[in-house]
Each structure stands twice: as structure tokens, then as C-alpha cells.
Amino acid sequence: MNSIEIKDVSFQYQSNTPVLQDINLTIKKGEWVTILGHNGSGKSTLSKLIIGLLKAKTGQILVNGIELNPETVQDIRQKVGIVFQNPDNQFVGVTVRDDIAFGLENLQVPREDMVERIEKYAKKVNMSDFLNKEPHALSGGQKQRVAIAGILAMNTDIIIFDEATSMLDPKGRNMVLDTMKQLRSEGKTIITITHTMKEALLSDRIVVLKQGRILKVGNSKDILKDKETLEKSNLEMLLPLRILYDLEQTNYSNERIKNLLWELSLSV
């Protein structure tokens, strides 16, 4: 089954410069897809189109096989969670607890269930000690953790992380990556928008956007070794991968070194 189908979608804001053009993309259920692209390439815009915060000028979007339109948009939003880029502008509650609860209240989750989920996901992002804190008493990274917990708690089928780990320390980021792996094993569909190659490497597939068009779609490992595509989209290849790549060009055959380089690129 397909989680998301995007067919011939184009979009522009009020101004006449197209932001997205002829986007065609199908994401299968349980798949983990990364969207890469330079600043302003339209990544965030694409994620907003998927839950109908913006309306595509042309084309069609299907989520879980249901076409996105004004009648279905509320149902679709219950299936898709988005952690937005700016953690400050998505903190709705007066306290961390209230904020995690916000989505659950909207989904009409019963109270006892809510309390349980809040505890569970606050723990998951290591924010259990901050439940009664107000947002202005939190750091950027801590707010990002709360945003992640708030979306995870909603338990949606599809989760989009729009540079959701940009402010996290390495430990925090690893924690979120572990959570993503766990989500995948639970069969959730994940879309990560990121500039971090490591996150990209963990995913199944990478979509590279350039100036509002899909430049390339492919298996993560292939894309990350594809020097040309990376260069075209202002991205840099990881150093160990670059070495590996160069070695492969020279018919180097020591598998152990190659594996080590691979491991190394995963751990950057």
C-alpha cells in the first residue's frame, strides 16, 4: 500500500515564481524517505502541501489512498504528523505538559490515556523533568524535543520531521534517530527533511530537490555516493564516503577497509 502519492504537483506562493514544479513521488507504507535540498528548494513547502496547509495549484495528492481535498483534509491530518522547522513557533501550550497534550486533546484522546502518553513520550525525548516548565524557560533544543514528543504522542501513521533535529546536541540527535528507527520497525512511514548526511543515510530512499524540481530519487546509499547529484544540489559528500568512492574508482579490493569506511560514514 502507498502512504503518500504525489502526482504532477506544482505550487507557487502569491508571487509568480514557481516554488514546486511537476513533483511526482510515491512513498510506500513503512518506508523512510529523506528529502534533501538546498535552502529554499521547497522542502518545507512540500511537507505543508501533504497535509493541506497549502493547496497545490495543479496535480493531486493522495494520503493512505485518500485524495486530499477540503472534505478529507481533517481526516488526513489525523494520519500525518509534522514536526516543523522552528520550535518556537509551534509551541502552543503554556507548559511542556500542555503542549504535548495539545494534539491529543484535539484528537479527543481520553484523559487517562493522555496522561500516560505524555509521560511516555516526554521520557522518550528526555524531557520528563521539564513537564511543568514554560517555553521561555527552555533552550531551542529542548523546545525541539517537546515538539517531537508532541507529534510522536499523536501516534500518526506518517510522520514528517522538518529539520527537527537541527538544534539538538549529538546525544539528543542520536536519541531521535533511534526513535526514528524504532518507528520504522513499528511500520510507520517516515519523511525526514534534513541537511545531515547521517540521517539521510539511515533512510531507505532519498529525494533530492533542486529549485522546486525533483533532481533525483534513489536508494540512499547510491545517492550519497552520487557525486554529481550532490554537487548540483549544494550538498557535500561525507568524507569517508568520498574516500570509499575514490577507492572504488581505483579498483581497490580490501573489503575490510571499505566496510570500515562505510561504518565511519554512518557514525559521523
Binding site: 491530518r77 501550550g93 495539545f102 486533546e105 484535539n106 479527543q108 505524555i118 499523536m154
Partner: protein, 321 residues
């Protein structure tokens, strides 16, 4: 900048904290109404006494309440001085002639200039202002040297003095009451309380949940916006805008250089926030479950009982005395 956020919630454990927010809000409204009904000076003083006792039992620091009053100082002083100078009812208490002479006018101007330049270094601004005011009055009434340009009258009437204190005490009581509410109620509870107190307005098709949500989000974003203002001021200061000094024209420029970016940022913010709320399945007017639930206890019934008695007392005092 930070101290603009008056009466922030301070954790505590007294009876004021244990009360249901609904009780506190309703009690606040009833008590305010009662205070406006009272006409006698003695009873107003008595009410102030009761409030001070509540503050003491509730272990609320007077300093906090004073901080809440500070933004209203100007209003307080203004009404006070206005009443004293211009209320002409009751007995005549003091009648003095004001001499505007070639000596007293420059001295007065000198005192005012001195006050303008020194007031920012003085801690007790209110006392300082009163000191300056009395010295001006002193100069004008006693120094009749030199060529007299004109004469004025300073007459103070008993009603003026009484009303001046009466209105001041009433303002103090009202601010104290609302400060008690915000100091002892968590923002979350305050929202819930407001929401359920507003509920009856639903009959008039007012969307009370939305109003409560708007209030909640405003409360939530005040500190963020203040931070933002601080950042912008720093950024503008680094570009050479001086926020501390300047003539009126400069002041206007400073305010513009603060407000324009503030507006742009706020619009972007509210746009993002609306997106985030919608993305989390918020639909205005659709039923939601609530995490926080309010608990009504005996304390609440008793408190409301007492405030109703206060209301009835003040009404009957007004009618029968």
C-alpha cells in the same frame, strides 16, 4: 524589559493556591464590583485592611503587589493630584495665594529641570515626585519677592483630599486583587478557569473556547515577544540606534525601528503557529478532551459564600447609610 510581565505565577502552597481558578476569577469580579459600590471612606479603608490580612495569611509578598502597582503609578499620582487640586466640594481646608514672580517662576522651572534630569537616578520615584511637588508649592506660596506677574489660588477642600485617598485606595485594592489572582494561579489553570467562567456566554453564540484559546496563546507569547523586542533593540543599538536618550523625534524613530520588525516577526510567527495548530488537528469549535480538570472543594464554596456576603454588605451599606 522583563519586568513588564507583571504578576507572573509564583509557586506556593497557601489557601490561595488551593482554590479553584473559577472561584478566584468569580471572586475577583464580585469583589471588584463591591469595591465600586462602596461610597464611604471608612468602609473603603476597612476593605483595604481585609485585603492586607488576606495577603498576610496567603503569604504573598507585598513587594510583588507593589511591582504590580508600579506601571499604574502615573495614573495613581495623576488622579490623586487632580482630585486635590480641582475638587471643590466640602469644607475649605487650605487657601493660599500663589505668587508668580520674576523669582518664583525661574526657580520653579529650575526645580522641574533638575527633577527631569535626576529622577532616573532616584529609587523612590514617587516620593521624589511628591517632594518636588511640595517644594514647588512652597516656593510659589511663600516667596513673594520681586515683580509679581500674576497670582493664582491654591485651595484644597476636605472632599478633595478624601476623594483623592478614596480613589487611590480603590485602585490599589483592584490591582492587588488581580495581582493575587495571577500570582497564585498557574497560566494553565487560569485559562481553564476563564474558559469555564465564560461558558454561559455561549447562549449569545460567543465562541468561548476560542476566546480562551486566544487568551492562552497571548499569555504564552508575551515573554517570547519581549525577548524578541530585546533582541531587536540590541540589534538596532549595534547599528547605532540609541534607545536610552534623545529628543521626541529620535524617540519616534527608535520606536519605529522597534515596532516594524516586531510586526513582521509577529505575523510570521502567528502564521507558523496557526499552521502548527492545524497540523495537530486543531479545528476551531470542534470538541476536545482536556488534560487538566478543575476540582471544586469546600474551600471554594466557602470563599464564594464570603465574597457574596461582601457584595450584599456593600450594597446594603450603600442603600441604608
Amino acid at each position: 524589559m522583563k519586568n513588564i510581565v507583571i504578576g507572573r505565577y509564583i509557586p506556593g502552597n497557601t489557601f490561595l493556591y488551593k482554590m479553584d481558578p473559577r472561584t478566584k476569577i468569580i471572586a475577583l469580579i464580585i469583589l471588584m464590583v463591591s469595591v465600586f459600590i462602596i461610597r464611604s471612606f471608612t468602609f473603603m479603608l476597612g476593605s483595604l485592611g481585609i485585603i492586607i490580612i488576606v495577603l498576610l495569611i496567603g503569604k504573598i509578598s507585598v513587594k510583588r503587589v507593589y511591582l504590580g502597582l508600579r506601571p499604574l503609578m502615573f495614573l495613581l499620582i495623576f488622579t490623586f493630584v487632580f482630585q486635590i487640586l480641582f475638587n471643590t466640594q466640602g469644607e475649605l481646608l487650605i487657601e493660599r495665594t500663589l505668587y508668580y514672580t520674576l523669582y518664583t517662576i525661574p526657580i520653579t522651572i529650575l526645580i522641574i529641570t533638575f527633577w527631569i534630569f535626576t529622577k532616573r537616578y532616584i529609587r523612590f520615584k514617587l516620593l521624589y515626585f511628591l517632594l518636588v511637588l511640595t517644594s514647588i508649592v512652597y516656593v510659589l506660596t511663600t516667596l513673594d519677592l520681586g515683580y509679581t506677574i500674576g497670582q493664582g489660588e491654591l485651595s484644597i477642600y476636605s472632599q478633595g483630599v478624601e476623594m483623592a485617598f478614596f480613589i487611590m485606595i480603590r485602585l490599589i485594592i483592584i490591582v492587588t486583587l488581580s495581582t493575587i489572582l495571577t500570582l497564585t494561579t498557574k497560566p494553565t489553570d487560569l485559562n481553564l478557569g476563564l474558559e469555564s467562567v465564560l461558558k454561559p456566554l455561549k447562549i449569545f453564540r460567543v465562541n468561548t473556547e476560542e476566546i480562551a484559546m486566544i487568551l492562552a496563546i497571548s499569555l504564552r507569547y508575551i515573554p517570547t515577544l519581549l525577548d524578541e523586542a530585546n533582541k531587536i533593540m540590541l540589534a538596532q543599538a549595534s547599528r547605532g540606534v540609541d534607545f536610552s536618550e534623545g529628543k521626541l523625534k529620535d524617540k519616534v524613530m527608535q520606536i519605529v525601528s522597534l515596532l516594524v520588525p516586531m510586526f513582521i516577526i509577529s505575523f510570521k510567527r502567528s502564521d507558523d503557529l496557526a499552521n502548527a495548530m492545524e497540523a495537530r488537528s486543531f479545528v476551531p469549535g470542534r470538541p476536545r478532551t482536556r488534560l487538566q480538570v478543575l476540582k471544586w472543594t469546600r474551600l471554594d464554596t466557602i470563599t464564594l459564600g464570603i465574597t457574596f456576603i461582601a457584595l450584599i454588605t456593600s450594597i446594603s451599606l450603600r442603600i441604608f447609610l
